[in-house]
Every structure is written in C-alpha cells, then in structure tokens.
C-alpha cells in the first residue's frame, strides 16, 4: 500500500534563509509518526511545508497526489488538518464558532460531527458560548484538537502540543491523540520537543538536525539509540 504522506527531498526557506535542506519521510495510513529535534532543526517548517504555509520545493505527495502547488486552503480541503504552534484557536470567537470553523469546508450538516467530538471532549458542551481566549492553555489545546477533528481529516499535523502546558496536561493531550488514532484510525504527524512522550505515542519517528533527517526508525528502536537517548531523552 502506498503511504498516505510522502516527502522526498523537500526544501523550504523563509526569505533568504533556508530552513529545510532536503527532508524525506513517509507516513503510513493509520500511523502516529513523530518528528523530533532541537530548536531550529526544521520540525515546524516540515509541517508547514506539508500544509503549504511556507515556500517549499521538492516532492510532497498526499494519497499519491502531488501537493506542491497548492496553498493552505486547498491542502486543508484535501483532508489535512494542521494545528499550528500556538494552537491557532480563534481567541475572539466562541468555542462553538471555533468548532464550526473546523467543519467550514463541508456542505453537509455538522450535527453528527459535533456529537462525535463531544464524545471525546464532553466539557466543550457547557463552554460552547464562552470566548475561546478565556479558556486555559490546556483547554485551548484540546479545543484546537477538537476543531481539527471536526475537519474529518485523513491526516492530522500537530505542532508542539506540549508547548506551555503542565506535565499532567501533556500526558492528557497525548492520551487523546492516541485514542483518536486507535478508535478512528486517524493518521497523525506530530512535532515534539518532549521526545519521551512523543516516542511513547508514535510508532515511527524521525530525528531532524539542521534541516535534514539525521535518524529514523521505529520508536522502540530509537528509544534505545545511543545519541537519541543522550540528546533528547537525557539518560
């Protein structure tokens, strides 16, 4: 079976500054794949290259179709949900409007989707008319996940979900991601500083260093890998 997402020699730059120097990776359908690396290694840029929010070159295929020419709106419509760094919630809008925006590209009724999302995030119901900006950081991250889930994506791009969250909440976020993956078969590409928790959640992982893939393999193997242990896990 062809992989759901395939990057081959992808480069990207911000103005004159190159951030990716030829990244190749594959994500199979139904998998959780983690991208690890230090600050500035190009993790976020890799996700942005997929969703089309950065200028990029090289080959990016989603479900066999090339994505290279498409802007972010089209990529979103093809079934890729991107939860960016800082979560991308609409702080000024209500929780409910945020969820409605998740289903923006669909013409059909969103009733079933709301019900499905509430199964995973039941507390959203009582907060539906609250402004999203008044939620706590953890709640906002959950809302971002819920909104992405409303998009009925085939692939979820998740950027640093642990950022700014207390350790207990980080565990909770990853538990939900894992649950969505197991119960609905959602494919996830997650970028994470916290290698420990990311390797637990993911089946496969890539380690980026200065815009290139330095290491890759099944999470279990990487966890035992000498340099990963020393640089990212700290033991």
């Amino acid at each position: 079976m062809a992989p759901l997402l395939e990057l081959h020699g992808v480069t990207a730059r911000y103005g004159q500054v190159h951030a990716l120097h030829g990244v190749s990776l594959t994500v199979d359908e139904g998998q959780v794949v983690a991208v690890l690396g230090a600050n500035g290694a190009g993790k976020t840029t890799t996700l942005r290259a997929v969703s089309g929010t950065v200028r990029r070159d090289g080959e990016i295929r989603f479900d066999g179709r090339p994505l290279g020419r498409h802007g972010p709106e089209t990529v979103a419509r093809l079934g890729i949900a991107h939860v960016p760094e800082g979560r991308g919630t609409f702080a000024e809008l209500t929780v409910w409007d945020n969820l409605r925006l998740g289903g923006y590209t669909r013409r059909t009724s969103l009733k079933d989707d709301f019900a499905r999302v509430l199964e995973y995030f039941p507390w959203l119901e009582e907060r539906r008319s609250q402004q999203a900006g008044t939620l706590s950081g953890g709640e906002q991250q959950m809302l971002a996940l819920a909104r992405a889930f409303m998009q009925r994506p085939r692939l979820l791009l998740l950027d640093e979900p642990s950022l700014g969250l207390a350790p207990l909440l980080v565990t909770e976020v990853f538990r939900i991601v894992k649950e969505l993956n197991e119960t609905t078969g959602l494919t996830v590409l997650v970028v994470e500083q916290n290698a420990h928790i990311a390797l637990q959640a993911a089946q496969t992982a890539y380690v980026l260093e200065v815009g290139r893939v330095a290491l890759s393999g099944p999470s279990a193997e990487l966890r035992e890998h000498e340099s990963v242990r020393r640089s990212y896990l700290g033991y």
């Binding site: 969703s51 929010t53 802007g71 972010p72 709106e73 979103a76 419509r77 949900a81 991107h82 960016p84 991308g88 919630t89 609409f90 702080a91 000024e92 809008l93 409007d97 409605r100 925006l101 998740g102 923006y104 590209t105 507390w123 402004q131 900006g133 008044t134 706590s136 950081g137 953890g138 709640e139 959950m142 909104r147 998009q151 207390a166 207990l168 909440l169 909770e172």
Partner: protein, 334 residues
C-alpha cells in the same frame, strides 16, 4: 480533566469583552437624559429624532469603515466617495426610467461588485507591503473617483425623487418627518441583516475568522482573499445605503455629498473603537443626536464650528480612552 486544567493553569484568564462599566453607565445616563428631555420639550424631541436620522447615516458609513478596518487594518479614505459615486449611479438609473426603489436595489448590487473589484485590483496587490501604502492607495481612489464623477456628471446640482415623500407626522405636538423615520428604518434593516449574516451564516463565520486570524483561517480551509474581497463589497453596499439616505437629507445631489458625512463617520467609528460594529452604530447615533441638540441649544457653536466641535469632543474622548468607547486596549508587542 477540566477541573485538572483549572487547578494547574494559573495564568490569569484574559477577557475580551470590550465595553467597560463606566461606558455602559454613561450611555445609560445619556439615554435617560434624552428620554427626559423628549418628554418635557417638543423641540427637544423633534431635534432628537432628526439627530437620530442624521446619526443613522453616519452609523452606516462608520460601519462600512469598521468592516474594512477589522479585515485590513486600514482606514478606507475612499469610502465616502465610493458611496457618493453609488448615489450617482442610482441617479443615472432613475434618469433611465427605473423607479426609486428599483434603482436602489440595482445600485446596491453594482456597489457590491465595485467594492470587490477595487479590493482585487488595487488593494490586494499592496496589502502585504505596508499600511501606509494601502492608505495612500485609498487616498488615490478618493481623488480618482471624485474626478471621474465630476467628469461624467459635472459638479452641477442634481435632484432625485424623495424616497419617502415629504410628509410630516404630528404626535403630541411634535412633528416627525417621514423622511427621518424612513432613514432610520432602512439603517436598522441593513444593520440587522448584516448582523445576521455575520452571526449566523457560514459565510459570516468565514469572514470573521479571516479578519481576526487570517493565518489560522487558511488552515481550516477559509479562502481569506475571497473573504476580504466580499468584505470590501459589503462595505461598499453599506456605504451606498448611507449615501442614498444622506442624499434626501441634503435635498440635492452634488459630488461633495459625502465629504462631511465621511468626516463624521470617521469620528463615529473612532468613538466606537474602530473594531466594534456595535460601537460604530452607537457612535454614529450619539454623534448625530449630540450635534443636533448642541446646534439647537448652544448658540456659540455655529455651523462653521460644527466640525471642529465634533472633533474636539472626539479628541477629548480619545484622551480619556485612547482606543474609543468600545475598543479594547491592546497589549503592545515588544
């Protein structure tokens, strides 16, 4: 889970509610004052109603400015001239034999298209360069449209049929012009329609998202550029409504129709906080009533001082609340 989140996350919850208590109390006091005045004096009541009608025109144009400001962070200096040009289009349609209200509807449609075309043709290309470049482009549009209208129709005074007739109603010794009531009704209808569009339709949701956070909006599949273009179209429609309602109040049509209205609309929009549609409407109405009452009772403020006086009040408000009555203070980025 939520309990957990609450316990752990100790950061203060930011609030986005724009209106502060003193402002609400002040507005309430003003309403009480107006109601009292209307009950005790017929002239006062008459001036208040006329002021509300004037204010409704300011409010429509202010709302148009706010729509564009929210989406583009730019004041559209050409908004008044676009509205004025729309009135000339209506005038031309009536000359061709349309009835007033047929011309009204067609004009709004044409205004929408013109707004979209302007956004796509000249605003979008400079949008990402600098704010000042966009402002200058709208100033250029101001001069261009003014020149075009003068060229095509000339500066001479023209007359249009009165949409609501010249009838005057009497109630309890107070005279209400049908024209004023009609202006208010049209404004209320357009504001309610707009509110409905933004609050309850998918298009409105997309437009709000695109205006607030364009980058995040693209990620959920909102076509931000399309939304901005539609925003300009809607602003042009609102402007056209303002223009068509301003024309009968001035009894004649000439190219300077909207210039003073634009200034008051600026003042109204700023008074309301520039980002708040409700603020623009309240600001417009308040300004209309206030100026009319001051004109009636304060004799020092003659017609020459009307504009300076309006702006002095605006300045005073800004010095107390630098982001307007309904504006929220923004945290400055370092």
């Amino acid at each position: 889970m939520v309990e957990l989140a609450r316990r752990i996350d100790l950061r203060p919850h930011r609030t986005y509610a724009g209106v502060s208590l003193p402002v609400i109390l002040g507005l309430f006091a003003a309403c009480v004052f107006l109601a009292g005045g209307c009950l005790s004096s017929g002239i006062f009541a008459q001036q208040t109603v006329a002021g509300l009608a004037q204010g409704a025109v300011y409010a429509s144009l202010a709302l148009a400015l706010v729509l564009i400001y929210r989406a583009t962070e730019v004041i559209n200096f050409a908004q008044g001239e676009m509205a004025m040009a729309s009135v000339y289009i209506a005038y031309q349609l009536i000359q061709w034999g349309f009835s007033y209200w047929e011309a009204f509807v067609v004009t709004l449609a044409v205004a929408f298209v013109l707004g979209v075309v302007i956004q796509v043709a000249v605003i979008r290309p400079v949008q990402h360069t600098s704010v000042i470049a966009v402002v200058i482009v709208t100033v250029g549009l101001f001069i261009l449209i003014d020149g075009l209208v003068n060229w095509k129709w000339g500066g001479a005074i023209r007359f249009m049929p009165a949409p609501f007739g010249q009838k005057v109603y009497h109630a309890g010794g107070v005279a209400f012009a049908r024209q004023d009531l009609g202006t208010m009704a049209v404004t209320v209808v357009s504001v309610v329609l707009l509110w409905f569009l933004f609050q309850f339709t998918k298009l409105g949701l997309g437009m709000r998202a695109a205006a607030l956070r364009p980058a995040a909006a693209t990620l959920v599949g909102v076509r931000v550029e399309v939304m901005l273009a539609i925003g300009w179209g809607l602003a042009a429609v609102l402007g056209a409504v303002a223009g068509l309602m301003a024309e009968p109040a001035q009894f004649v049509l000439q190219p300077t129709l909207m210039q003073s209205v634009l200034l008051y609309a600026f003042a109204a929009a700023v008074l309301g906080g520039l980002e708040s549609p409700a603020g623009a409407v309240v600001g417009g109405l308040a300004l209309g009533v206030f100026l009319n009452l001051v004109g009636q009772y304060v004799h020092f403020i003659t017609s020459e001082l009307r504009q300076p006086f309006a702006f002095a009040v605006l300045l005073a408000v800004l010095l107390v609340k630098p982001t307007g009555l309904f504006g929220r203070s923004r945290v400055r980025k370092v």
